[in-house]
Amino acid sequence: MSEEAQEQTHGEAAGYGEAGHGAEGGLQIHPMDQFIIQPLFGDGPVAWYTPTNATLWMALAIIAVVILMVMGTRGRAIVPSRAQSVAELTYGFIRKMVEDVAGKDALVFFPYIMTLFLFILMANFLGLIPMSFTTTSHIAVTAILALAVFITVTVVGFVKNGAAFLGLFWVSSAPAPLRPVLAIIELISYFVRPVSHSIRLAGNVMAGHAVIKVFAGFAGVLGIGAVAPVVAITAVYGLEVLVSFIQAYVFTILTCVYLRDALHPSH
């Protein structure tokens, strides 16, 4: 009980305390408690330099990527080991995606896109470990990733094409009276990109984890005879493994699509 009370004060310190949950009625496990950012050492205000559970799990994601890619390809065997074949398959998969979707001249950006994919994939997968923390469920994390992509794409577009990059907004194949209207729509959709790009990833991951915790709350209420919630948790967990991969894939493939627009802005 005292632990729960302590957790609640943590939540209030992090600004999530208004959910109004507690012992009186409702679920015992609040589905949103898993997303509370806490300092690793002691408790106190969270500043930008404070090591929190979010920074810990981001660092673990990077370590996981390094273990997979650097350790996996260290042997460079002709007949690859399991880790080496996973690393090689991932490399080939992303390289082919960049080449197919964004074009051959986008291969300059392949290291960046590979980094994005591996980091998001590992953060998603590590977040699926029970009691861990999912960094990609926070819009603060995904918004930085999406903003970096947005700024990169915009700068690349203007550097490569100059003012011709603005042709992206001017649909020359449309009838002339429609073009100004379409230009406004294209402009809005261009600036909504980082919003949808980041919220798609964070929303999918957060929603899935919250669903798992809601079923866990049902299991807590039912007690020992909670067969249905446990089956449901297992099923949702399987779905979440799939969603983790697909959302990392979707994030990277949309990066490739935006990059293609920047490199070849003509409609």
């Binding site: 959910a19 798609r200 697909i246 894939y249």
Partner: protein, 74 residues
């Protein structure tokens, strides 16, 4: 339960998830019907499938976000 209008709004916003489900099902169903007619062309279009699903899903996620904001931020 001290339910107020924000909770009703959050419930209404959750309808958006159903609308997104219709959109995603439409994309995937049409992909499948096309892929069964010409299976040899299907493999090259899976990337397009995922992009289409992602765009359809994004708007449902926006509805979910509105529900979350109404539940926890308002």
């Amino acid at each position: 339960m001290e339910g107020d209008l924000a909770h009703i709004g959050a419930g209404l916003a959750a309808i958006g998830s159903g609308a997104a489900a219709i959109g995603v099902g439409h994309v995937a169903g049409n992909f499948l019907s096309g892929a069964l007619r010409n299976p040899s062309a299907a493999a090259g279009q899976t990337a397009t499938l995922f992009i289409g699903i992602a765009f359809a899903e994004a708007l449902g996620i926006f509805a979910f976000l509105v529900a979350l904001l109404l539940m926890f931020a308002v």
